[in-house]
Structure formats: C-alpha cells, structure tokens
C-alpha cells in the first residue's frame, strides 16, 4: 500500500485533542516567574532606573558582559546594528525590554514590575519610514550614517529602451501597512538550571531551536554544549518565532545567575507590542507595457520599514532583499531596475511573517496588471496570459531559475471553476439594483524549499538551508526519525511518516519522529520559508532510502536472491515473482543480532542523510469574488478559489489545510489587520479588540484545485506550500474590490483595504452615503 497521497488523519492529533498537548506554559508553573519592564516611549535616553528595594530585578547594567544581538550580512550596503539584550543608555522602540523582574508567580512579578520607575529623557521618535528616509532625518542609530541599513540595486541594460518603446507606462504607489503574525500561543521560555551539570535547558516556543542555541551561546559567551534548547508543542509561529529575541538570552542568563528555573510567558499585549512585525512596506512601480499588453520592463523603488533592529539570523535584509529578487514573480520579462531599501525607525523589529515580502510584491504586480489591462482595453486574464512564464527552466531578470511550473494552466483551471461568464451576468444584473460584485485574480510564484545557495547569495554570515535527518530502525522493525527541522502545527510528522513508510514498507504508525530538541536531533534550521516538506522531507527520504537498501541486502542474503528482487511493502520484504517473503521486523532483528552474517554491511540499521536543494517554485492562481457595500465600505467575500501547484502532494488533507489557513491570513492582510502607531511611536493596537484577526464569520469556504507538476529539483517531488495562501489572497481580494467599484473608477493600492479606506475612496469619487 502506498502512503504518499493519502489523506491520513494526523498522528499528532489525539494528544492535542484531549488537552494533552505540551506547550511551554504548560511546563512552567513550578518555575519562578519573569516579567519584563518595557519602555513606555519610542526613543529616549535612559537617565535612571529606580528599582524597589525588595524583589529580584536586573537592568542592562547587570548584563554589560552580554554581547548584543548583531546579525551580519556580508554586503557593502549593509550596516550591522547591535541590539542590546537590555539597553543601558537608550531605548529605541516602545515596548523594548529595559529591566527584568523575577518573582514567585506572574501576578507578583507584574506587581514588582509596576514599582520599577524608569526615567527616560524622551526624544522625538522616527516612526514614519518615509520621514526616516529624508536627508535631514536624525539617524535612529547614532552609529549608522543614515536610516537605510540595507540597500539592493540593479538595473538591466535595456531598461531605458523598454520604457522608450512602451505604448503605456503604468505607475503605481503601493502601501502595505504593518501586521503581526499573532500566533495563538504567544512567545514564552522556561530556562531550567541543572545544578549537577551546570547546564541550562531552555524550553521555548520557537521555530529554530538549534539556531537559538547557537545565538544564545554566542551572546552569553558560553559553550553550546552547556545549553539544550527544546521546542515543545508550539502554538503557531508563521515566522514570528524564528528570530533570536533578547528575552530568551535574558532567561538563560537568569537561570545561570540565580541557579534556578525561571519562566517568561509572554502575554498578548507584549506579543503585539514587542515580538516582531512585518509587511510595513511602500513600493513604487513603473511598468512599461507594449500595446499588446506585454510587460517590457519594470522599474521599482521599494522601501521596507525594518523597525528598530535587525532580526537574527536572517537580518533586516529579509524583506527588502526578497522584494528585490522576487518582484518579477510569475511574469516573463527581461528588463528590470530596482532599488530596495530597508529603513530603520523607532518601531518594533520587523521579522519574517508568512510570505515575507511576497504578499506585498504580488499585490503590487497584480494591481499593476489590472490597471494596465484596463488602460489597454485588455481583459485581466488575457494580459496575464500574454505575460506569464511558459517555458522552463526560466531565468528571471535577477538570475533566479524557476523550475517547471504551471502558471498559465493554474490560472485557466481557476477561471473555469469560477465560471466568469455567469459571474459577469450576475454582476451586471446586481449593479442595476445598486449591489456591487467584483472578481479579482492573483497569479504568483512561491519560491520554496531553498537550500544554502539561496541564502549565501544574500551574503548571510549564517547560511541556513540544508537539513540533516537520522533514521534508525530498531530490532523490532519500528523506526525513529530524528530531524533538525522543527514543526509547529504543520503536521510534518505525519507527512514525513507517510514518506518514510513508502520507503521502508511499514505503516506510518510505526514511525516516531523526534524534533525540537537539540540534545536529541541533528543540527538543523527549523521550520520556515515553506521548506520542511521539501528539505526535511528530502533528507528523510534519502536517509530512509539508505536503510531500505540495507534491509533489501539483508533480505536478499537471507532469501538467497539479489537485492534488486526485493520489494518492501506492508511490513514484508517480498521476493518478486515468488511466494518468498520475510517480515521486516525479522530483518531488523537480524541486522542487529545476526550482523556477522552480512558481509560488507555495518551492524544495525542506522543511517543519516543531508539534503541541500537549490529550491523549487510552487505557483498558484487565486480568484476572489466579493460584494462591496458602497454605503458602509464593508466587503463580503462570496467565493474564493485557489488553483495550486505544489508538486506531488504527500498528504493532500494537510496541504489543503496549509492553503486554507494561509488564505485566511491573506484575507486578514487584505481587509482586517493593521498595527497602528501614533506619531510618538505609541502602539494603538495592543489588544485583539483593536488588532483584528478575522473570525469564522469573515472567512469563506476556500475552493481548492491542485496541479501536480513534478519537479526534478525536489527528491520528494513535493514543492513547498506553507506561504502561498497568504501570498496570493490580498491581491485577489483587492483586485475584486476594484472590479466591483469600477463603475466609479476606483483603484485601491493600500493594504488592508478597510471599510473606512473604501468609503474614503468612494467619497472622493463622489459617492455619498445619504449626504
């Protein structure tokens, strides 16, 4: 029986369903509670910190020996900025941790924290990143010459000619407002001190446990062997839990200093205030179009607000440099000019959030295509048909090589399912009655599963990318897979078990997967960037494949045939074209207990594999159908379709779950969520009453169709699918809103398209609500 391709219910679920999940807070009740005192202002000089006499409290002065977090890119245009784990002299954003309190329980810790008085000489904060770019702007960091901390530039030779030849030049200014990944579980860490060994075990809600170990050890100047990092059940991450945060360094420092166990469980206010944000970007695009709608060239000025600090290890280059490299997306054109800057401000640090720059860049390109189509009198689908990549491998203007995909086919499949002719009829009929329906398209590529070459190209000092997997079959024939990847809700253990099952011919239930423990797994990079199924999956398949080769050799020896004649299936090793068979468990026992019989084989069944692929591009087309209430600006999503090509689906149920969840976050990005600061840098959206993740009432049913282009760039034939939903949805929805409002000539270029913004546009267009 083949396990790949089956909608196998997840092996992870029974415990989670019974309340038996084990998240960091569930392990923390015996530890002392840690509370951070946070800066109430965005910028200023610390004059004095008055601490109450009773209570365990530390400030930056106590941690002067701790190195700042200072991620590096080896690029001449990158300015490295250090983030002190607790600052001594100045604060750089509202919410920055400036002192730490330890008490018996969290409420008491808060009581003490309230007694810490911080005297800050407040300075004018730089919040707006366009203002931060002004020539006379004060640098946010005194040791940087300007507020641009990273800048990518390129310009192909024929760009000017492309614009000279253009029949139509489309110019647009796109704004994506700041968002938070807002995982349902906030951050948190438990640092346990072991008196016997002097080691610390940090259990934390993180996506990259090994990286965290390295980062903390470097910062504290301690051997990595003295630190064990465990990522237990993690309640969602979406990128927010990738980075090394000061709080985790402080926790390990405290455990070593106090020689006791301490725990910090972040609350929602802190998570919205001081964890990490993303998507705060302004893109200015000029597209040169031929009269037939072909895009001849693109000139782009991209600005990303990276906040007060650079995130470790991916750095503040993650948004601007991805935008720089991937803006061309699914379109085939040669001439490209781009300037992409990462701008620092006195706001919370930017870090990866599901999709990173791609929701904004897809939004920009797809808005541009719609605007160009209208100007040129071409249908929105048709202009895409004329520009989508059709031959593979495709080399983009920035040198990215796209493997085989189905850009055009995916769009056609989605359009067919959407039944546009019927929709247009209904749209026209409803417009007569003053109801405004619209349909919007979004076609995009998603670069997934990329290994070290992609990260090395960015000039990262720390180059992630590969994964190592250890695969052991024990004497009873059960398997343990130790992976460096660190899933946090994706169901990776189930998908990997299905992969390995097919390699080894045993049921997934017999495969135990160990992840998220630096003492028990090989060094790895964790789960982010739609990489785990491709890379950890690839390494798992390779490692299990080696075990399978060994099993076949043993079976062949025992059954006196050649290994090529052995098939591993349903728990048995069978000799082809014969009745001869042995149970895999018996082979495993022989491998350990009769190893002397297998000449040339090492005893046991333990293999390791590394996989470091170049990367593969998934692609998809989203179609949104919406109704806009022109009196209130409200938007109702009527239908949402996704035609996705993520290669071979290991577990289609899990893949669909990634898509629906991603689309929901994309809808949030399109219509609901926005982190808002006031002019002084004070956060106005510090609760779920003001920061608005959508509920079941706002998310429609997502209709999903699959293409399965088999890529040679992935040993599992799977492509990544973690981010696509979030990437494509904002463009499709806003395109649909603009289609609905086309009678009024309204074009929107801002995310989220809140009811207020939609009404504002209608008002400007002279559409009053009973005025």
């Amino acid at each position: 029986m083949n396990w790949i391709g089956r909608r196998l219910p997840r092996l992870e679920d029974p415990a989670l369903l019974k309340g038996g999940g084990s998240y960091v807070a569930d392990r923390a009740s015996k530890a002392a509670a840690v509370c951070f005192v946070r800066s109430p202002v965005a910028r200023g000089t610390i004059v004095d910190i008055e601490i109450p006499s009773d209570g365990i409290i530390f400030t930056g002065r106590d941690l002067v020996d701790v190195k700042p977090i200072r991620p590096i890119l080896h690029r001449p245009d990158y300015v490295a900025i250090g983030q002190p784990v607790l600052p001594v002299d100045r604060v750089s954003f509202c919410g920055q941790a400036i002192a730490v309190v330890v008490a018996d329980d969290p409420a008491l810790a808060e009581d003490v924290a309230e007694q810490v008085f911080v005297d800050i000489d407040v300075a004018d904060a730089i919040i707006d990143f366009e203002a931060a770019l002004a020539l006379d702007a004060t640098p946010v960091h005194p040791d940087a010459a300007s507020n641009v901390l990273v800048e990518g530039r390129m310009r192909t030779q024929g760009l000017d000619k492309a614009f000279a030849d253009a029949a139509e030049i489309v110019t647009l200014d796109v704004r994506s407002h700041r968002q938070s990944a807002a995982p349902m579980e906030n951050r948190g860490g438990l640092a346990e001190y072991d008196a016997a060994s002097g080691r610390v075990t940090l259990t934390a809600s993180v996506q990259m446990p090994h990286m965290l170990r390295t980062g903390i050890a470097d910062t504290l100047g301690m051997p990595e062997s003295d630190l064990r990092v465990i990522a237990p059940d993690v309640g969602g991450g979406f990128g927010q839990k990738m980075s090394l945060f000061p709080e985790y360094v402080v926790l390990v420092w405290l455990a070593r200093k106090l020689k006791r166990s301490v725990a910090w469980i972040e609350d929602r206010r802190e998570n919205l205030l001081a964890s990490a944000h993303g998507r705060d970007q302004a893109f200015s695009l000029r597209g040169a179009f031929a009269g037939d709608g072909r895009l001849l060239g693109l000139d782009a000025d991209l600005r990303s607000n990276i906040g007060a600090f650079s995130c470790y290890p991916v750095t503040c280059g993650v948004e601007p440099l991805m935008a720089f490299a991937e803006l061309p997306g699914p379109y085939d054109f040669a001439e490209y000019g781009v300037r992409s800057r990462g701008v620092t401000t006195n706001t919370c640090m930017m870090a990866p959030y599901r999709g990173v720059s791609r929701p904004t860049l897809t939004f920009s390109m797809e808005r541009m295509m719609d605007v160009a189509a209208k100007r040129l009198g071409i249908d929105a689908a048709e202009i895409r048909r004329r520009n989508l990549i059709k031959t593979f491998p495709h080399r983009s203007p920035t040198g990215l090589v796209y493997d085989e995909g189905s850009y055009l086919q995916a769009m056609e499949v989605a359009l067919d399912a959407a039944d546009l002719p019927a929709f247009r009829e209904r749209q026209a009929a409803m417009r007569e009655r003053g109801q405004y329906l619209g349909v919007g398209l979004s076609v995009f590529s998603e670069r997934t599963g990329y290994g070290t070459p992609a990260y090395a190209a960015r000039g990262m000092e720390i180059v992630p990318g590969y994964e190592i997997v250890d695969c052991s079959m024990d004497p009873s024939g059960d398997v343990v897979l130790r992976i460096g990847s660190s899933p946090h809700g994706q169901g990776l253990k189930t998908s990997l078990a299905q992969l390995v099952s097919d390699e080894l011919g045993i049921e997934p239930q017999r495969i135990r997967i160990i992840s998220g423990d630096t003492d028990a797994t090989p060094y790895g990079w964790g789960t982010f960037a739609s990489r785990s199924m491709v890379i950890a999956g690839g390494a798992s398949k390779l490692a299990a494949g080696k075990v399978a080769v060994k099993l076949k050799t043993i079976a062949a020896t025992l059954m006196e045939t050649s290994p090529d004649n052995i098939e591993l299936k349903d728990g048995w090793a069978r000799v082809s074209h014969s009745n001869q068979a042995m149970e895999i468990g018996a082979l495993a026992r022989a491998a350990y207990h009769q190893s002397h019989r297998f000449k040339g084989l090492l005893p046991g069944l333990h293999e390791s594999a590394v996989y470091d692929p170049g990367g593969t591009f998934s692609n998809a087309c989203h179609v949104a159908m919406v109704e806009v209430d022109i009196e209130t600006g409200g938007v109702r999503i009527e239908r949402f379709l996704v035609a996705e090509d993520a290669g071979v689906l290991i577990n289609p149920m899990i893949v669909d779950g990634q898509i629906t969840g991603g689309v929901a976050q994309g809808i949030a990005n399109a219509l609901f969520e926005e982190i808002v600061y006031d002019d002084t840098g004070n956060l106005l959206t510090a609760s779920f009453a003001d920061y608005l993740p959508p509920t079941a009432a706002e998310i429609p049913e997502i209709e999903i169709m699959h293409m399965e282009t088999v890529s040679p760039e992935s040993v599992t034939k799977a492509k990544g699918v973690g981010e696509g939903g979030a990437i494509g949805a904002p463009a499709a929805i806003v395109n649909a809103i603009c289609d609905a409002l086309s009678p009024f000539g309204i074009e929107l270029f801002e995310l989220p398209a809140t009811p207020q913004r939609i009404r504002e546009a209608l008002r400007r267009a002279g559409v009053a609500t009973y005025a």
Binding site: E110, R268, A697, E698, R759, T769, Y770, A771
Partner: protein
Amino acid sequence: MKAAAFDYLRPASLGEALALLATHKDDCKILAGGQSLVPAMNFRLARPAILIDINDLDELDHLRADAGQLKIGALTRHAAFHRPVVEGPLGTLLAKVVRHIAHYPIRQRGTFAGSLSHADPASEWCLVATTLRAEMVAKSARGERVIAASDFFHGTFTTALEPDEILAEIRLPIMTPDWRVGFYEFSRRAGDFALGMAVAAAKVEDGTIREARLGVGGVGDRAIRLGALEDQLVGTPASSDVIDSIDRIAREARGMIEPSGDIHASPEYRRDLIAASVKRALTEALA
C-alpha cells in the same frame, strides 16, 4: 496581564451587598458578568481595591413582563435574550440585537444591567435603553430611585449611578403588536463593538405612523435618541412612499451627530455609517 490584587466579597443578600457598597463606595466595584470589568482589570486599567460579587443574589435574577413593562433584573445575562423573552416586537428586537453583542460565551456571563452600568458608547443595550426610553431602578442602602434613560447616561463609562448604588432593574416598555422594529449595526468583525448602529421602531395604525423611536450608537460619548426625526416620522404614511422619507431622515441623521474619530473610523466615516444604519433600521421596520 494578571489583575492587581483585590479583596473579594460575596454577599448573600441584596441588603448585605448594599451595606457593603455604602461602606466601600469608590473603593469597590460590583462584579456581575465581569465581561468588561475583568479584561480592564487584566490590563490593569481598572484596579478596584474590592470586588463585590453579586452573582449569588437571587433577588436580582429575574426577567418578567409586568404592567406593560419588561423588567430585567441585574443578573439577567445577555444569553437570556437569544430567544424572544416577550411576545411581540420588543422580544423580536431584543433577540435580534443580542446577536451583535460580543460572542456566545461572553453572552453567557455578561449582563444587561452590567452593560448599562459600564456605559460604553458603543454598547447595543445602551442604545436600546436610550431609544426605547427605559427606566433604571437604582438601589442603595438609602433607598430606591427610578432614573429615566435620558438622565442615566452621562458620557463614556459614566452614569447617574452613585458609588453606593446598584442598577437593580431595567424596565423597558413592552410594545404592542402594532409596533414595527428594525436594527442595523456595522462592525469590523462579528461581535466587535459597533462603529455605527441604529434602532428604529414605529407604531403604525391605519397605515400611518403614530409614534416613532429612533436612536443611534457608536458615535460620541453615548447613544443618542434622534427626537426631532422621530417627530418627523409621526404622521407619515407607512406605505411605499415611506422610502423617500427614510432617505431624507438618513440624510438628516448624519448632520445631527458629532462623532469622534479613532483608528477604526474617522468622524466623516462614522457619519456615513450612521446614515446607512438609520436607513437600514428604518427600512427594516417600515419598508
């Protein structure tokens, strides 16, 4: 986000509760449903020294029709209104409105009286009470007084209640079957506070509006009854040509409010929402 410490008192009778209120006055807060108070306490935006938990006071847990009024005791939870609590238009209206109040679990704990005492300007029940001219029965160790809705709400989170008083009962006039009712609310997500909303009711006899109620909420520091527009409606035929009147009234409503702005809605946007809400509530009631 853990509440500051407080002392917790759980009186067994209303008399005992009123005595405690008389003693502690501003130092204490009444805990009924706690669905607004406790979040504020968890953020440490509210830090009462003493909480007086009234959940054991059976004499406050009633909901009955009596002498043409619906009498809502202080412990009546929002969820009690999921199904019509009285026959006729009032029960229908309350069942419609309650669906917009936060969410199902919040409605199991939160109370009608708690909403009014808390006096959030975007509270649905405050709008209903204002528009339908509720009477509030305040009790204290000093006695009992009845406060008209028009005198009860003083502004954002402030009411006519004295520190030693408890809002023991709300009385809503029961509408006869010839009343027609409508409600419309616009919020960002299901269950969020209203950015704009309106309640409309009209008593229609022989095809003509004889009495009208119209109020808006989510703007300014309290719900607003649009008395002048109510007067305009009276005498209007409730037939198909009422549509024109409704449009005119919606237009006038936007001029009668002075909304404030916040991150979710500018004053101008709020005017749009109020006009649309008035139009839709009236249309539901009349068209």
